[in-house]
Amino acid sequence: MRTYLAKRLLLIVPTLLGAAALVFLIMRVIPGDVTLLIFGGDQASQVDPKQLAAMRHRLGLDQPLWVQFASWLWGVLRFDFGTSLWTGRPVIEELLVRLPLSLELAVLATIVSVLLAIPFGMLAAVRQDSWVDYVIRVVSIGGLAIPSFWVGILIILLLVIFFGWGPPLEFTPPWINPWANVQQMIWPVLTVGYRYAAVTTRMTRSTVLEVMREDYIRTAWAKGLRERAIVFRHAMKNAMLPVVTLIGTEFAFLIGGLVVTETVFTLNGVGRFVVDAVAHRDYPVVQALVFLIALSFVVVNLLIDLTYAWFDPRIRYR
């Protein structure tokens, strides 16, 4: 187990390096120039080329690519992600404003998803082709088919039209004002949680159905065990491996992938920050964010792999 863990931790390094290098290169080949944007975007062509050159020099953009990349990596090792080209503030400061919100949303949406998806997914499998199964399937397919942002817009509109009430427009951390936090976060959590639960319910249902057809389950039925014991003791744990994988990757996705939902609910999270930074060619911010998102995927995947052993004791790590 220890060897396995060490190997996995070491593998994180090339994975993150690869992701960082890829983004570094992509940001520099896409059209648009950060120096022009800094000089005002729509009026940028009025700028003297000497001024542009001076700005490129100041930002280090006149250096060879490998020098820029190496300099950035050296900073990362010291937890210094540089300064935003756009705001002039340290990237880490900008990130710390947004990360708590994205983490809260990801954690709460995951909780909602797990609480809904696992019981309903199992119920649908156990009661396959009954009306219960049909209802769960319709609701979950709806969750997959309807975009989250549309559900979000609908929720806001319904609240506004029928109650003349809308969620707060500014994020308040739960430790400052829990009630204000609930008022703002409950709607995006439900919106994201619904889609997330729909995906997970479908997966739970499929895997439980598959497991329920296994020989050892048939044996359990033949032994005269009660349904509850068969489902919870024998089927559930074995069915959970793909479900846990899905939950993990969805969680990592939620950290930086909720651009439109964040926009709809005026949440100043990591997702919007990524898009904003890309639009402004804010290289240090994009690199830091991609690094963060890649890191969250890698860590979550590692945790998922480690939980496999708990769900299936036959799995041994070497």
Partner: protein, 538 residues
Amino acid sequence: MTNGIQPHAKPFTAVALASLMIITSVAAVETWAAETPRRGGVLLAVIGADPPSLDSHQESTFANIQLVAPLYSTLLQYDPYSYPKIIGDAATEWKIAPDGLTYTFKIRQGIRFHDGSPLTAADVKATYDKIIWPPAGVLSIRKAAYSEIERVEVPDAATVVFRLKFPSASLLDNLASPWNVIYPKKYLDKDPNYFKTNVVGSGPFKFKGYTRGSTFEGERNPDYFVKDRPYLDGYKFFISPETSVRASAIRSGRAYVEFRDLPGADVDAIKKQLGDKVAVQETPMTGQWGIAINNTVKPFTDPRVRKALTLGFDRYTASRVLYPLTGLKYVGGLMRAGSDWAMPDADLQKLPGFGKDIEKSRAEARRLLAEAGYPNGLKVVLKNRNVKLPYQDFAVFLIQEWRKIGVEAEHRPLETAAWFSDVQNTGSFELSVAPTVEYADDPDQFLGRYVTGSTQNWGRFSEPRVDDLFSRQARTLDPHERKRLVNELEKIVLENAYYMPGLWWTRKVVHWTKMRNYVAPPNHYTNQKLQDVWLAAD
């Protein structure tokens, strides 16, 4: 000498003013004037974007000026209740020498920056020096508007003198620019880019905080130089690029106003739900969406092709269709329809694309295309900014119009940076949607883009007659003669279809009626200081 009034009065100001403000807003001002302003409260507003930077000298977007204008003073300003009348802000009075070459401004005494230091003539000079002659590494996007200024002098701490190379008809308008906020000299001396990320103003509000993508806040400046102002304790903008979010924020009362514009459908829904709790001020806009035609690439080097494109656009139908969707409404030339400078309708309708008989125009367009060697029509690429309102709606309508004359346009929306890069900086385009939005109906502001070599001349054409007329109108102090030159210039550009005007914009400012004393001007840049705005009790 003139003292405290505009020396170069605009020709038909009273008429223009009457057409500018809709009846409801004028009536509202009269009602508000009769009320006793209430102190306190924080004005909550929504805005559609973050500012690229906080330095207004370097920016040209509402996302900058609406946020920072309340924090600063300017030398002059447009009267909040009487656009386009110019009044003083930091300046109490001004005199213009009879030869029009010297402008002398007296600076109000007792103005203090938010760091406690006094605002003097030296700060005004440092500000204008930065704008007119920016140091290396500093952008000043409006410096071309001050080319007539030879130098700025400070004979004493309370006097600023602008010395001109030649008389200028637009100087006072340019000095009333909301973008020319006054910065303290000592910070500019240390770092001319200091104000891109910092705020030290002398306006009615002090900077409180800014979180990109979330909020921008100001709080009451207790030492503001106008006695008993501002009425508000502060203001707070919530930033959201999503139109439906901003509209919902108004509907739910989470915000009281959206200063730029909301689509007609949203405004109607808000009005229907909230009734008398909200007011809608609709004004024309000093902004137009048209088509930049790259005059340097074939087949657009041929005036017949360019003319065919403009003839093939039914502006009058477009106005009816696009107005409810986008606010694009008025048919006009290069100066705002209905403004002092606009060409008379009868003259305009004689120019290509402005006639009311669209079938006749389309037949002429097809004939010109055939004559130019395209009897079966042609394929073109129309580049655009990937912003829906009104860029893409306008383009979609235009494309189906062009189809009727055999022009197949491929619509290619681009991300903003790529769009600017292709269309403005490198000229890598055939046709592009091109907005023209300024803060006042000033010919220098609107027509400078048609001059040879102007960076705003996206069509990259060169017409010596236009250059000459632009230069002459800028120096002509008689408003009637200036208007004649302006209209002559317009006629040359439109007859040759160097550029293709689309429609002039309108804006609908919807706000809760408890927000008092705000009159929407015909642009979203001026009257944003909020010093006289107050909030009525619920």
